[in-house]
Amino acid sequence: MSETKADKYLDIRGVVCPYTLVKSKLAIENINVGQILEIILDYPEASDSIPKAMINYGHAVLKVEKINPKEWIIQVKKEVED
């Protein structure tokens, strides 16, 4: 699979729920429709809940990848205006 380059990167390692979602939501609000946000996180529940929440907001989840035993990368494409 080819790598998709993100337009914005968000590092929320060390952040716990619900602030993982709060910070991700604010970050997606600040990019344009069609752009991609890449989130790196280490809070296990968020690797599941953030993709679900982003789909619920109407965005597309391009990738959820566990990059090492403790960290995940999630790519979200902004699909709708807030």
Binding site: P18, Y19, V22, L26, E29, N30, N56
Partner: protein, 266 residues
Amino acid sequence: MEFTEEQLKRYSRHIILPEVGGKGQQKISNSKVLIVGAGGLGCPVGYYLAAAGVGTLALVDNDVVELSNLQRQIAHSVKTLGINKADSAKQTFENLNPDVNVVAVKERINSKNILGLFKDYDIIVDGTDNFPTRYLINDACVMLKKPLVSGAILRFEGQVTTILPGEGPCYRCLFEEPPPAGLVPSCQEAGVLGVLPGIIGALQATEVLKLIIGKGKPLKGELLIYDALGVNFRKVRVPKNSDCPICGKNPTIKELSDIPEQYCSI
């Protein structure tokens, strides 16, 4: 807007709502709301708007806190007995949320000061307890084209409506003139269940927040009536009156008039 870490925590449940988000929370923080009356209705309205982070919250009241108020006026306490109600509520709301600029206006609203008081605010909330003031507030909001969220309570029943001048009916479209003095009893004469203003005030605060974030359907052109004993919410449609003396095609009320003294029994 860059939120501080404290604000991220405080407003997290708003920010994650799709209808609010960071942008909606920013609108709330930038908004200016004026509440007439820091009593039964003004206390819960102000409480929730302060919690929500409304940027500037003005409270207009020239009465002092009395023991008989504490059954329903939840922003006051035994520690503020004898203190002006706007000042008392200001202390409570500032303790709840230091982000909010709470302005205590220790005046009785009248035809001379009302336009000056209202002009700098985005939304007006009516939490008063008498008809002449209710009509004066309505007329001022129509003249200034300010959204007005109106509430009223008595015994076990309450009413709410949102008046958007130019878009929907006003209070005078519903009842052209106030009822004669003494016809409708006051809470002092007839009583009120203490929790009732909490429910009606919470509905008013909800309307205010919806207007600020621009989401949902405002309660315009409708009067919501809550009956606590029967547990009924019903909505009565209120048409705009083209002959309304203040918002009709040919308004006859061109300037504000003062409140006859005999009305103000509370």
